[in-house]
Amino acid sequence: MNTYKHSVKLDSAKCRGCTTCLHHCPTEAIRIHNGKAVINEDRCIDCGECIRLCPNKAKRSTGGSLDEMKNYKWKIALPAPTLYGQFENLGDVEYVLDGLLKLGFDDVFEVSAAAELVSAYTRIYLKDPKVKKPAISSACPTVLRLIALRFPSLIENVIHMLPPMEVAARLARDKAKSEHPELNDSDIGVFFISPCPAKVSYVNNGFAGYKSLVDVVVPISDIYFQLINVMDTAIGEQQLSSSGMIGIGWAVTGGESTAIFNENYLAADGIDNVIRVLDQIENGSMPQLEFIELNACTSGCVGGVNTIQNPFIAKARLQSLRRYLPVSLNFLTEEEKQKVPENYLFDELPQYTPVSEFHPSLLQSMRMMAEAQRQSRELPGIDCGACGAPNCRAFAEDAVRRGEVAVCPIKDKLSGNKE
């Protein structure tokens, strides 16, 4: 049944079954079986919290590597703007872009450049009175999956705009083909340099019927040391960078929102805060807003688990990098401003997947729910995780789903201090 390919994986040899990830997974997707963490792939949203918190480094994200460059005649790097915040005293984005060429890429195309076009088109998109408000950004793939699994009534609020990475991939391919007409699509390899595992999943799975134009997603943390070794102040004369403050601002929470030029927005980050905001939109206790930017990681993409630098330092560095840049370097012509083109949009929204449903029949679900309530009352309620479930209630629910009775492994030891 499950066909979603995840990028968060477990290295069983390192896992000690310590329950850290179990307690912090925002979707309760993890259980400990036989002393090892197991991820329920139906529930995982690739937020990376378990990778971030694992004390044994047993969780990692799968991604591509630079070795895959050999499979393509023409290799294009798409650096996420977050990459620029990883270096001390960078001074100029050019050094990073030049470094990517030195690693063997034939061209670079900044995701921040595409982000400026996405911002420009989003401003136009939001003027359409048919757009449901508050309009929720579609840029963070973890948030999209969270909405599809847990906030079905907000699916209609998601903006149909493709994320900057996708737009960059298309524009980079078009540029390669127009400059080198001899290239076929399969000759071109598009490598996204990514701050987060969720982008890996996004590329592997496509999105709501949309097939990604990115071929390989390389984590920033994997490429970092190779890149820093080849980066040099002696760089070519060619100007590679083509984005301004707006584009680079997308790496940090609030950057995408301020580029909408409408102060009636909300920007939130951190997966727990994101869930709280979505709950509030859903229960109607949110002021009337035009635009909502949500990032699963603290501070936005600079907080991604595949980065090197502390997000707050990366953010401070990006502030100084942006300071003397033009506001934007990518503009729409008057003609382009008339309508958001189809190739910036995805037409299908994600589908609601009721992953937590007990049973397709309501009556049967009700009986199972009642049984879970009954069993959970018998449990100590300290949510210690020793049974392998994140809390007593989830343990009872798991047991009921399997047609079993939840037997707490430590209840006898606790009875002394409880009674």
Binding site: P152, D279, Q280, N283, G284, S285, L363, M366
Partner: protein, 141 residues
């Protein structure tokens, strides 16, 4: 009498910041029962407004959400001051909330009207000095 399952929540009147949590839990349970997303949204709004009311006006109380195959019943029960004039309280924009509460963005006088709007039936039983029971139903069939 058809089969049903009931969830009980205590709404803590002493801590304003915790208001709205029962509404989040109800959503989770209704998803587990496979309830339609639009119904979940309506129950969640009615529940949220009710919870806020209990915290603002009644010092907390209890909430019971009962799901049967026919409908979802929300019972909000408190031992607060009661509602003196129910017709007036049902008018949009009418509120007896204090300035303090209003400064937080609540007390706009939309709580009860919204609860009525998002449910299929609503019944208020209130006695001044004794408390208030509000029963709302959302039909599933």
């Amino acid at each position: 009498m058809s089969e049903s399952v009931t969830f009980r929540f205590e709404v803590d009147g002493s801590d304003f910041t915790s208001a709205g949590q029962a509404s989040v839990l109800v959503k989770k349970h209704l998803r587990q029962l496979g309830i339609d997303p639009e119904i979940i949204r309506r129950v969640s709004i009615a529940m949220y407004e009710g919870e806020i009311n209990m915290v603002i006006h009644a010092g907390g109380g209890e909430a019971f959400v009962t799901v049967s195959e026919e409908d979802i019943t929300i019972l909000l029960s408190d031992k607060g001051p009661g509602i003196a004039d129910i017709d007036k309280a049902m008018q949009e924009g009418y509120s007896t909330a204090t300035d303090n509460v209003r400064s937080l963005g609540f007390g706009a006088g939309m709580g009860l009207p919204n609860m009525k709007r998002y449910t299929d039936s609503m019944d208020i039983k209130s006695e001044v000095g004794v408390g208030t029971d509000i029963t709302m139903k959302v039909n599933l069939i």
